[in-house]
């Protein structure tokens, strides 16, 4: 609210008219007619916040503009709209906005249904990692610069400090996104072990990265060990049992080589059997049989 009032107070255009214009028409207006006005206002805004860029004229070099826009968004990140207003005006830096790629990565994970996996996006993943290294370089160079100027890095609050802060925050955010991506995928991989057992179907295997496959194998091994320790197969009995026997229909030719705990039978396709639930469950979860109810 504070920032909004200050900007409004200096001219009263930027936000007060928002209700009348859509963001895009407003942005065109800014682009065409209010360019100088906006520059002026941005400078006023920064000065009022007391964290100005030092130069008198706002020469919008690419780097500076990016810094400025990021700082602006940082200062007033509650005002999401500011970004949409500024975007056509300074399109380039915003398209490369920090953290955008990491956000895309997480969004991609979340875009499919619960418990589903997307293809492991190693391309985007590497880009985010590269962005992180870039941030780290810039962060270090800014800190070096401050040290060369003889400032105390801990306490100094100049433009470089805030620049470094932005790089740090962007890096941390990227890290969180990357970790969330990998960790959530790991969670799904674990649930896969429970659902389909220790053998990965081809179509899922293609979606995993190399380390994820390794993790899958290790985890299923661990689970097996734990279950043999308890002398109990935990992957069956997923729903409370009503009757020890259930009626099932065989969906695939699984042959007659299967020995159940109490009998043997020929499981030809489409044949119907009356089986022990614990025996049938493993076939049901693998999609080889279906339970007939009613």
């Amino acid at each position: 609210m504070l920032t909004r009032n200050r900007i409004d107070g200096t001219g009263g255009f930027l936000f007060s008219d928002l209700s009348k214009h859509t963001a895009s028409t407003l942005a065109t207006m800014i682009h065409l007619r209010w360019r100088t006005e906006l520059q002026l206002r941005l400078r006023n805004f920064l000065y009022t916040l007391g964290q100005s860029l030092h130069s008198d004229s706002l020469s919008f070099s690419r780097h500076k503009r990016r810094l400025l826009v990021n700082r602006l968004c940082f200062c007033s990140f509650r005002l999401r709209r500011l970004r949409s207003i500024l975007s056509p005006y300074s399109l380039q830096p915003l398209l490369n906005m920090y953290g955008r790629k990491a956000c895309e990565l997480v969004k991609e994970f979340a875009s499919v249904g619960k418990g589903q996996l997307t293809q492991y996006n190693s391309d985007l993943f590497e880009q985010v990692v590269a962005e992180c290294s870039q941030h780290h370089l810039e962060l270090q160079s800014l800190i070096r610069k401050m040290q060369e100027e003889g400032l105390d890095v801990q306490t100094a609050r100049n433009a470089d400090h805030y620049g470094a802060l932005i790089h740090h925050l962007a890096l941390v955010r990227n890290k969180r996104c990357l970790m969330a991506y990998v960790n959530n995928r790991a969670e799904i991989i674990r649930s896969l072990v429970w659902k389909i057992g220790s053998v990965l179907p081809k179509e899922i295997e293609e979606k995993l990265s190399h380390t994820e496959e390794e993790y899958f194998n290790k985890y299923s091994g661990e689970l097996k060990k734990y279950m043999s320790k308890m002398e109990l197969d935990l992957t069956v009995d997923m729903v409370p049992p009503k009757d020890p026997y259930i009626k099932v229909r065989v969906l695939d030719d699984i042959g007659d080589g299967i020995v159940l705990s109490d009998k043997t039978a020929n499981f030809a396709r489409h044949s119907i059997h009356f089986l022990k639930r614990t025996d049938a469950e493993q076939f049901i979860s693998r999609g080889l049989m279906e339970e007939l109810t009613g």
Partner: protein, 254 residues
């Protein structure tokens, strides 16, 4: 598996229920329910589970015996059903625990109190701090031979997940940002560790009259009021407020 209560004189209904509520199956059911409802991991009852495992084995033998000797098929199927249900309870109990442990494994490992709630051997062989990897491995190998620990896979899981995260993400980040627990070296707390939300609400029922429960939610001036619980009445309450009572077994979660 209420077998002992069936013989001898016919008990009255009250006695019967009192007996029923102390059988191991009933205890397990209670533990299972609480475990399902509580946001954090509860104490693992080693004795209960080992008793139950023995009983299940006994039961399996009985069923086996009866089926070969050609006993009444109806009673056999009743036995089988009873066995299946108990097995389901036990499996589900262990499953719920494993899932919870997996979700919060880093948090559980760094909190002594929670770590001790798992089964006995673990904390000896996965030392939380320091201790070179080699040590940990040796301990683990030794432990896997010696201890009959029940959730022993947990620490392996942590190692595996940690390794997985390190290989895919952390090793590629700048050096000050490589910790699993912290966002960067300047974070004072472990701010990357997911923790269970203790301020969620749970349904619960008390076994006895309880008074003096401090509510931890709601407006500040309400918090000084103490809350009372009647036995057998359902309450919907913030988990944090009744946490110690759940741990001591005075309150059952539903």
């Amino acid at each position: 598996m209420a077998s002992s209560s069936m013989d001898g004189s016919i008990p009255t209904m009250d006695e019967f229920e009192a007996l029923l509520s102390t059988t191991d199956v009933e205890l397990l059911k209670r533990a299972w329910r609480s475990e399902k409802a509580s946001p954090e991991i509860l104490r693992y009852d080693t004795d209960l589970v080992s008793r139950l495992t023995e009983q299940i084995q006994l039961m399996e033998e009985t069923v086996e015996e009866k089926s070969t000797s050609g006993a009444d098929p109806l009673s056999l199927s009743l036995y089988q059903m009873d066995l299946d249900r108990t097995l389901f309870l036990l499996r589900s109990y262990l499953r719920v625990r494993i899932q919870k442990i997996e979700k919060y494994m880093f948090h559980i490992r760094k909190t002594d109190e929670l770590w001790n709630r798992l089964s006995k051997g673990e904390k000896d062989f996965t030392s939380r701090k320091g201790s070179s990897n080699l040590h940990a491995y040796a301990y683990r190998y030794y432990a896997s031979l010696v201890f009959e620990s029940n959730e022993f896979s947990c620490c392996r899981c942590i190692e595996d997940l940690k390794q997985h995260l390190e290989e895919s993400v952390l090793s590629k980040l700048p050096e000050n940002y490589q910790s699993v627990e912290k966002q960067s070296v300047i974070s004072e707390e472990d701010d990357m560790v997911p923790e269970p939300r203790l301020d969620t609400f749970v349904l619960c029922r008390s076994k006895e009259y309880l008074s003096g429960i401090q509510l931890e939610d709601g407006p500040v001036d309400d918090r000084s009021k103490l809350f009372e619980m009647e036995p057998g009445v359902l309450y919907f309450i913030c988990y944090k407020s009744i946490k110690p009572l759940v741990e001591s077994g005075k309150i059952d979660l539903l």
